[in-house]
Symmetry: C2
Subunit: 365 residues, 2 copies
C-alpha cells in the first residue's frame, strides 16, 4: 500500500508532482492540503465512477478540511460538450468559487479534459488536480496539460493548455476498469515503447500477462515509465511545437477513425492501436521502418486483444477527416512515422497516394 | 500620419509590440505579415464598427496576402456570451482554422475580450491581434492579456490570460467614437494617474480640453503613457497575484455598479469613475488619503463629464454583488485604496461598516 513510484513534471513555475501507488484515494486530502490555499473544492466524476470511488475520495478530502461539492456527469464523450461545461460553470459559480478554489477530476480522460478546461477558464484559472481512474488517463491525458471539449466537427477543438497542481494515480482503481478499457489504455502504453523506449516495448512483450493480471509492481513501474516519458517530452515542449508531436503516433489515423466511427463507438485507445499499426505500415512502405519491427508491433497489439482494422468508409472520407486535424499546418498533414521500435520522427512529406493505399488496406472492418 | 509612439510589452516568449499613431489601419496588413506564419485570418467586429473601418482593414490585410473571413457581431455586452462565442467557433472551425491562423479584434473591449478568448481556446490557442477602436480598449483591455466572456451571474467569469501578437492603436478611430464612450475611456486614463503617476494626473488636469478635442500629439502621448504603465504592471505580474491588482482601482465598487444597473445601462468606464471616487473617499475615511487629493479626483472626474453617483439600490445588494467579484479570496473582499494621487495599495482589511457608509453616501442616483 502507499506510494510505489513518483516523479516531478518540470515546467518551471508550473511544475507538479505525480504519485503512483495503491490505496492513494484514502490519502488524497492530506496530500493536497499543503499544496492548496483555498478550502473550496469541486470533485467532478461520472455516473460510473461515483458509486465506486466518490465516497472514499470525498471522505478523505473532507477530513482534511476541504469544502467539497461533488458534480456527477453522464459517462462518455457527450460530457465533453458545451452543455456539460456550462452546467459545471453554473455549479462552480453558484458555489462562489474563487481563484484559490480547486477542481478535482476523478475519472477517465473525458472527466480530466472537461475538468481541466473548466478549471482553466473559470475566473481565468483556478486550481486543478487530477485523480485519473483509467489506464488511458493515467498514462496519457493526466500528464501534459491538454484540456478541452469537443465540437460537432471534431474532437478537442476547444480547450487550453493548463497544468494540474498534482496528479494522484491510485492503481487499485484499475481493478474495476472494464477489460476493454484496460486494453485501450494499453495501446497508449505500447505507443510510448514504439516512439521512445525499445526497452519498455520489450518489457511489454515479456510482461504482458503480468500487466493484464494487474500485478502491482509491474503496473506501477510501467505507468511510472510512461508518465516519465510523457513528462520528459512535455517539459521540453509544452505547447506542442516540436518533439511533443511524437506523442501523436497513430493519432492522425486514430482521430479520423474515431470521427468516422462516431464518438463513443470505438475507444480512443482502440483507434490509436489501429492508427499505430497503420503508421508502422506506412513507415515500412516509405522504406523507413524494417518489416520485422512492423511485425512485432502488430503481434503485440494483437496479443493485447486490440483491433487491427478500421471501420469501412470511403478512403476520401478518411482523408477529409484527417485534413481537419488540429495538427494540420498550412493544409499539410503531418504524420508521426517510425524508423523502428524506440525511434520516431515527424514528417509533413508523405505521398498522399501511399497514405490512401494504407487506408485502403486497413479500413475493412 | 503613421506611428507616433510605440512600446514593447515584455513577457519573455510572449512579448509583443504596441503601435500608436494615425492612419494605421491602412498599414495593418504589412505590419502583421512578418509576425504571422499562417495566411488564414478572421476579423471580428461589430455592427457599428464594420461600416466605419472593416473595409479599410480588410483591404489592407488582403493586399498583404491574408485570407480574411469577417465576422460581424451585434454591439454590446450581449456579444460576450456563450452563444456569440459558439457562433464564432462555428465560423472559424468551418473556415478550417489552423494553429497558425489569426483572430483579429477590430473594435472595443467587448470584441477584444471575446476574440481573445476565442483565439485562446480554439485548437488550444491560435494567433491573436488587437486593433482597439475605443479609448477604453486602447488604454485598458487591449494590454494585459485578459480575455473572456460574461456569465449570467457576473462579468468576465469565464476566460483566459492570453497575449496578442501585436496591438495596433489607430487614434483616428476615436473621431467616430460617441462622446459618452470617449469620456468613459477617460475614466481609466484618470485611473492610471491616480494609482501610478501623479504627473500624468497633473497633465490631465492641464490638458483635459486638448485631449477631449482629440489633439493628436496629446492623445497619442497620453495613450502611450497609459499603455506603458499597464505594460509595466503586467510584465511584473502577468497573472494578477500582486501589483497588477492596483489596476482594479474603482473596480470592486465599479463591477457591483455595472452588475446592479444591468449590463449596458451604465458604461464600464462610468462605473469605474464612480468606483474611483468611492475608493478615494473610502481611503480618506480610513485616514489613508488627504482630503485635498479626494477633492482633486472628484473635480477632474466632474470636469470630464463623468458621473459621481451610483444607482440607488440597497446597501446589501451592493455588498452581495461585491462578494461575488473574482478578486474575492477566502471570502475576504480586497480593495484598492490610495495614499494620495500617484500612490495606491491593496487592502483586505477594510471595515465593512465603513464600506457600507460609503455605499450609502454614493448609491443615490
Amino acid at each position: 500500500m502507499g506510494v510505489l513510484n513518483s516523479l516531478q513534471v518540470d515546467l518551471g513555475a508550473r511544475s507538479y508532482p505525480i504519485e503512483i501507488g495503491q490505496g492513494l484515494l484514502d490519502g488524497l486530502g492530506d496530500g493536497l492540503k499543503p499544496l492548496l490555499k483555498g478550502r473550496q473544492m469541486a470533485v467532478l466524476t461520472t455516473e460510473t465512477v461515483a458509486p465506486l470511488y466518490l465516497e472514499r475520495a470525498q471522505a478523505s478530502l473532507t477530513a482534511a478540511g476541504f469544502d467539497v461539492t461533488p458534480i456527477i456527469l453522464p459517462d462518455g464523450e457527450t460530457s465533453k460538450s458545451w452543455q456539460a461545461l456550462n452546467q459545471v460553470f453554473d455549479v462552480l459559480i453558484g458555489a462562489r468559487f474563487e481563484r484559490s478554489s480547486t477542481v478535482v477530476a476523478l475519472g477517465g480522460g473525458v472527466i480530466g479534459d472537461l475538468s481541466g478546461f473548466a478549471a482553466a477558464s473559470l475566473l481565468r484559472g483556478v486550481n486543478f488536480v487530477q485523480v485519473p481512474t483509467t489506464l488511458l488517463s493515467q498514462v496519457d491525458s493526466s500528464v501534459g496539460g491538454k484540456t478541452g471539449i469537443n465540437h460537432p466537427l471534431g474532437k478537442n477543438l476547444i480547450g487550453a493548455f493548463y497544468q494540474p497542481k498534482k496528479v494522484t494515480i491510485d492503481i487499485d482503481t484499475l481493478r474495476t476498469l472494464p477489460r476493454r478499457e484496460l486494453l485501450a489504455g494499453l495501446a497508449e502504453v505500447i505507443k510510448y515503447g514504439i516512439i521512445w523506449d525499445a526497452e519498455l516495448f520489450a518489457r511489454l512483450e515479456r510482461d504482458l500477462d503480468a500487466f493484464l493480471a494487474l500485478e502491482p509492481t509491474v503496473v506501477a513501474e510501467v505507468i511510472h515509465r510512461c508518465c516519465a516519458i510523457k513528462a520528459e517530452v512535455v517539459s521540453a515542449d509544452e505547447r506542442e511545437a516540436g518533439q511533443r508531436a511524437l506523442l501523436n503516433l497513430g493519432h492522425t489515423f486514430g482521430h479520423a477513425i474515431e470521427n468516422l466511427a462516431g464518438y463513443g463507438e470505438i475507444l480512443h485507445g482502440e483507434a490509436v492501436a489501429i492508427g499505430m499499426v497503420m503508421a508502422a505500415d506506412l513507415s515500412h512502405w516509405l522504406k523507413l521502418c524494417p518489416g520485422n519491427d512492423v511485425a512485432r508491433i502488430r503481434e503485440l497489439v494483437e496479443r493485447a486483444g486490440l483491433p487491427l482494422h478500421a471501420p469501412k468508409h470511403a478512403v476520401e472520407a478518411y482523408m477529409d477527416a484527417m485534413s481537419r486535424d488540429k495538427k494540420v499546418e498550412a493544409g499539410v498533414m503531418r504524420f508521426v512515422l517510425m524508423r523502428g521500435i524506440g525511434s520516431a520522427m515527424i514528417s509533413s512529406d508523405v505521398d498522399a497516394a501511399v497514405t490512401r493505399q494504407v487506408i485502403e488496406a486497413y479500413a475493412v472492418a
